[in-house]
């Protein structure tokens, strides 16, 4: 008796090949998705409890980043403004605007405003804001054009690959001290040469910037 049909061989071969191809597609899709904006959360705007606009505050009003994120030059964390900081202006300006009700409530009740986190690094990454802004890395390098974001989103992928791009070659990202918070500064002259000047100026220790312990502990 004939157990296998005429095409059994072809079917088996096709099946095996298809399985292999599927596996490959699956793997590529996995890695691709993980690194895509879907996986990294890049350009994903989150709904906040208050429709706070960086475009308005940092862009139109021209408030310096450090007015609200005061710890950025001294600490690992840039810091989020306490409700009190909001109220320094908003006890006078738009003092009864309905959108600011959560701010007033927080100030009255002492309960914090719980914002949605936009820039979230994994727990095993120890990023230090002070180390960067004091050594010539501008806010815009990682956070993008904050002054043009009505709703905040993550401008960079924040993947390790992206971190390393700069840690391997920091020069092009460095700028003078007084331009750190500027959103529009561009270097004049040759970029690479200027970067080397900046590395020398800030005494950036480029030799071990890719050591694991620089970020992971």
């Amino acid at each position: 008796m004939q157990v296998f049909g005429r095409q059994a061989d072809q079917i088996a071969q096709f099946g095996l090949t298809a399985a292999l191809v599927m596996l490959l597609v699956f793997a590529v899709a996995w890695v691709g998705l993980d690194r895509s904006s879907y996986g990294t959360g890049q350009r994903l705007a989150r709904l906040q409890p208050i429709p706070f606009s960086h475009a308005h505050h940092a862009g139109e009003d021209g408030i310096d980043c450090r007015y609200c994120h005061g710890a950025v030059e001294t600490s690992s964390s840039a810091g989020l403004p306490a409700t009190e900081i909001c109220m320094t202006c908003h006890s006078q300006l738009f003092a009864d605007a309905p959108v600011l009700e959560p701010v007033r409530q927080s100030f009255a009740s002492g309960k914090p405003i719980v914002w949605e986190r936009v820039h979230d690094l994994p727990d095993f990454v120890y990023f230090n804001h002070a180390a960067h802004v004091n050594n010539g890395v501008g806010c815009v390098s990682c956070h993008g054009r904050i002054d043009e974001m009505p709703t905040l989103y993550q401008a960079a992928p924040l993947t390790m690959q992206w971190c390393l791009d700069c840690h391997r070659d920091p020069g092009p990202q460095l700028r003078p001290e007084d331009e750190i918070t500027s959103m529009t500064w561009t270097p004049t002259g040759e970029r690479r040469k200027f970067g080397e000047q900046m590395i020398a100026h800030y005494h950036v220790r480029t030799d071990h910037m890719t050591d694991c312990y620089v970020c992971h502990r």
Partner: protein, 955 residues
């Protein structure tokens, strides 16, 4: 191991016939006992035992499929809330720790600490260098105090008759109590305190007694039962001959941290100053002071009076009589320039105390090496008086501030019956213990880190306790309880303490808070106690086959005060390395005589009271003596008791020695978990000791060729040096490492399998023969090899070298092959076999975590990093300010915790750094130098200063 009683004799025989080992860790190493050898032959012997059942193919496939499916679940990215302050406290910078000076009160005495807080939660305590009780050092109890602070088994609410009540209701009850007793002058009312030095408590009690003159104050402390009016304060750094009369001054008593520092400072042998003090020690049961001694004489624990009178007589006549110990001592003290000091134990008999004082006076120590001060402690009637008062009806109602008397009362005192007779018992304490459950009212206490209080150090200096965090579980201070009794219901805890110090103006008050010490508050020297003539007690020396039992407080649990602290439960005991329980410790000879072996369960009975304990063979024990640790078996609601309560054997007439104890072997086995044989390095020449006369030794380090690539250290090259001569083996470093680096507690069963997660261990070695051996300690952190064997075998590059020479472990890259651990010659890598800590956000222990260190998950290898979070913080600071890192500004957690300053850490590229100097000393050596791993951690050999050291065959 399985040694039967009858085989014990042969173990003894094998010990005698075995080739003499220079250094050994466990008895079985010398005796080549069969049951233990498998521990040395396999790194993880218990895993093989657990995988005995074969897993079939179907199950394997099923599990693999399930694992694949669940991998997809990790892909989701949920949103997370982020909450800023509403009103940010001044000077608070998110992400930056702040340090506050406060004190912990241990056994009544203050130890000054600097508490590290992250956004308001204390995570780590360091010693306060300005505080005389700490001098910058800490011990294991101080290091792990933050665990107790957060621990969920603390008492959480006021109880009346076991039912939830409120603090207001308790205050109302106190008001009623006050109404009843003020009119009667306090007759019938009593307050029971533990050992206390708090000036605020003293002021409150004085005020209460002024109002109610008949108010009775009782004091009960199981660790320091006696409370003499005048106490000695020692200055060991001024002595060159120290004679310990069975005093464990390095590990016990309120001055222990200062003693450790002074003692080790007198023993730092360096090229330019090759001299050190000499410590003579009489020793009943093995102690850390005995280990540190240059000359040691074992005595029968009950026979201290006899031994001391022998010494006193020999010193009187000047004739060296008896053994070498006395002969050498007489010769040493005969030398004109010798500066000797005699140290009696805390619970000394009157004779020993009087003799020590007489000898100190004779050798001119009083006023220099020892001064006497009025005891800073608050006096009170002993517990026996409380029981008789309760029985006679003189005491009707009792307020208990702290001590768990039902746990710590001696077994022949019917404290339960006495308390049950009382109309009302009010209890204030951290835990719902037996006393709390028997009491009619219970009020949760605030932890020292949540409290406003004050306390005095061993030499009388006062310091203020300020809270680092608001009470987590609604605790109140003992001052608030007494204030309620005094009719003050409105004063805050802070006001009660501030009221004690009217002499401090605001500026001085804030200065005292900032520095952690009230300037100039040390006690003035008083005249030593009047000389008394007491005859020495003669030891009961009738039946030679009698067994004595020595009861002594556990080095970590103390009298049980810290028995709920699991960090301490899992910290190996300094001498025995036992974890998670107490045992009947005895020498091999005693065990042979009793016909018992390791892990046998025995019943010890004295006067009709019994305890059941497993046997632990401890080679340093004297013959015919069994040592049992107190403080175990405390019954606290919410946690299972650890070990067995041995207070039931204790007698009311004090003294920790019980004679005529019957020992009966039961038909049971209980595995005693000890960590000493874990991570063994198989008896290579690891710990080194040399006699002082042989100093400086010749260094012989031929450079060996290597196949490893050259590493360059452009800026820093971190290195560590550990002085074995300064190390007293107290384990503060291990506890500090665990708290700093978020290392988990794994539990008794896991430790038994060798899975403990301490990155740093302190190895204990014995030198000499089995009976009268010396003990040596050696802390072993990661050696941070320059040519590291672990790095080359990692298949995923998870362990790599950094530019500053640290052997980095990258947790997020590690896949858990454990090849690195297998290839590590020092066995300093630890593997997370299970998710030992998986903290839900509502678990209070998640607040304990150091935010600067990753919490490792299951399946990754981890290891000592030289506290990379601290070195990185210093490097970032240096990067920002463009200034170099100064020597000594970066300290590792172990180094900072060490009370005897045995660990030096710093930058080796800086030739003038302290660590570079230490490594240049002639007695510096590296572990397993012959492997050419070029360790960054090196040691300074221990140096023994015995008079016979010339003839010693030591290296």
């Amino acid at each position: 191991m399985s040694v039967t009683g009858s085989a014990r004799g042969t173990l003894r025989g094998r010990l005698e016939t075995a080739a003499p080992a220079r250094f050994w860790q466990v008895l079985e190493e010398v005796s080549a006992e069969g049951g233990f050898s498998h521990r040395f032959s396999a790194e993880f012997p218990e895993i093989a035992e657990r995988l005995s059942g074969a897993v079939d193919r179907r199950t394997t496939l099923k599990l693999m499929g399930a694992a694949l499916l669940s991998a997809g679940l990790a892909g989701c990215k949920p949103s997370k809330g982020i909450a800023p302050y509403v009103d940010q406290p001044e000077f608070t910078v998110p992400g930056k720790p702040r340090f506050y000076a406060t004190s912990l009160v241990l056994d009544g005495y203050a130890i000054g600490v600097l508490g590290e807080t992250h956004e308001g939660r204390p995570t780590k305590l360091e010693g306060n260098p300005a505080h005389p009780g700490s001098l910058g050092g800490t011990d294991a109890i101080v290091q792990t105090a933050v665990y107790t602070l957060y621990s969920a088994d603390r008492s959480r609410y006021v109880r009346r008759g076991g039912q939830p009540a409120t603090w207001g209701a308790f205050q109302a009850e106190m008001a009623e109590l006050r109404d009843t007793y003020v009119s009667r002058g306090g007759a019938g009312l009593g307050v029971l305190i533990g050992a206390e030095t708090s000036p605020t408590l003293a002021r409150q009690l004085d005020a209460l007694q002024a109002e109610m003159p008949a108010l009775a104050v009782y004091r009960h402390s199981a660790t320091t039962p006696r409370n003499p009016a005048v106490v000695p304060v020692y200055r060991f750094d001024r002595a060159d001959v120290i004679v310990s009369l069975d005093a464990d001054f390095l590990a016990e008593g309120p001055g222990r941290l200062a003693h450790a520092r002074q003692f080790s400072d007198s023993r730092r042998v360096r090229r330019e100053a090759a001299k050190m003090s000499r410590l003579y020690a009489l020793e009943g049961v093995p102690s850390l002071t005995g280990v540190a001694a240059d000359v040691r004489r074992k005595i029968r624990p009950g026979a201290l009076d006899e031994a001391v009178s022998e010494i006193a007589a020999a010193l009187e006549s000047g004739a060296p009589a008896g053994d070498k110990f006395i002969a050498w001592l007489v010769a040493d003290l005969g030398a004109a320039a010798s500066r000797a000091v005699f140290v009696p134990p805390l619970d000394a008999s009157l004779y020993v105390e009087a003799t020590a004082l007489a000898l100190n006076q004779r050798f001119g120590a009083v006023g220099d090496r020892v001064i006497y001060i009025a005891s800073p402690e608050i006096a009170g009637a002993p517990l026996e008086t409380l029981v008789t008062d309760a029985e006679s009806g003189r005491l009707e109602q009792l307020v208990i501030l702290g001590p768990d008397v039902l746990h710590t009362a001696p077994g022949d005192l019917d404290i339960t019956g006495a308390l049950q007779r009382l109309a009302r018992v009010y209890h204030h304490g951290l835990h719902v213990d037996r006393t709390a459950r028997l009491a009619h009212w219970h009020v949760p206490a605030a932890h020292d880190l949540e409290s406003w209080s004050d306390g005095r150090a061993y030499e009388g200096s006062a310091s203020i306790l300020q809270p680092l965090i608001a009470p987590l579980y609604g605790g109140v201070t003992k001052h608030q309880v007494l204030a309620a009794l005094a009719g003050d219901f409105t004063s805050s805890a802070q006001e009660l303490v501030r009221g004690t110090w009217p002499s401090l103006n605001d500026e001085a008050w804030f200065e005292a808070l900032k520095s952690g010490l009230i300037e100039g508050s040390a006690a003035a020297a008083t005249a030593p106690p009047a000389a008394t003539s007491v005859a020495p007690a003669t030891a009961v020396d009738g039946a030679t086959d009698a067994v004595d039992v020595v009861l002594r407080p556990d080095p970590y649990f103390s009298d049980g005060t810290h028995a709920a602290n699991l960090f301490l439960a899992e910290l190996p005991r300094p001498l025995t390395k036992i974890v998670w329980g107490n045992t009947a410790e005895m020498s091999p000879d005693t065990a042979a005589r009793l016909g018992v072996a390791q892990d046998d369960v025995v019943e010890l009975s004295a006067n009709g009271r019994t305890v059941v304990l497993p046997v632990f063979i401890h080679p340093g024990m004297p013959e015919g003596v069994i040592a049992v640790a107190l403080g175990f078996g405390r019954e606290i609601e919410g946690s299972a008791p650890i070990g067995v309560n041995a207070f039931v054997l204790a007698r009311r007439d004090g003294g920790g020695v019980l004679s005529e104890v019957t020992v009966q072997k039961l038909d049971a086995k209980e595995h005693v978990v000890t960590t000493q044989h874990h991570h063994s390095m198989e008896g290579r020449d690891i710990v080194r000791e040399l006699p002082l006369a042989a100093f400086p030794p010749e260094r012989n380090e031929p450079a060996q060729p290597t196949l490893y690539p050259e590493y360059e250290n452009p800026e820093e090259a971190w290195g560590m040096s550990i002085d074995l001569n300064a190390c007293i083996g107290c384990m503060a470093c291990v506890a500090a490492c665990q708290v700093e680096n978020n290392s988990p507690v794994v539990g008794r069963e896991e430790v038994a399998r060798g899975h403990e997660m301490h990155w740093l261990r302190v190895d204990r070695y014995y030198a000499g023969d089995g009976d009268d051996q010396r003990t040596l300690f050696q802390p072993v952190p990661c050696m941070q090899c320059e040519d590291a064997p672990c790095e080359v075998v990692c298949p995923v590059n998870a362990t790599v070298h950094t530019a500053d020479g640290i052997n980095a472990q990258v947790y997020n890259r590690c896949v858990g092959t454990r090849y690195c651990s297998q290839n590590c010659p020092y066995k300093v890598r630890r593997f997370n076999f299970f998710a030992y800590q998986d903290f839900a956000e509502d678990n209070p222990l998640s607040l304990l975590m150091n935010p600067d260190v990753s919490v490792r998950e299951r399946g990754v290898m981890e290891k000592c990093t030289y506290c990379v979070q601290r070195t990185r913080a210093a490097q970032i600071e240096a990067n920002i300010t463009d200034s170099p890192i100064t020597d000594g500004s970066v300290m590792t957690a172990c180094q900072q915790a060490c009370p005897s300053r045995a660990i030096t850490f710093g930058n080796l590229k800086d030739r003038s750094s302290a660590v570079a100097r230490e490594k240049g000393e002639p007695h510096a050596y590296a572990l397993l130098e012959e492997l050419n791993t070029k360790p960054r951690t090196t040691y300074l050999a221990r140096i023994r200063n015995a008079p016979d050291s010339e003839e010693d065959d030591g290296e």
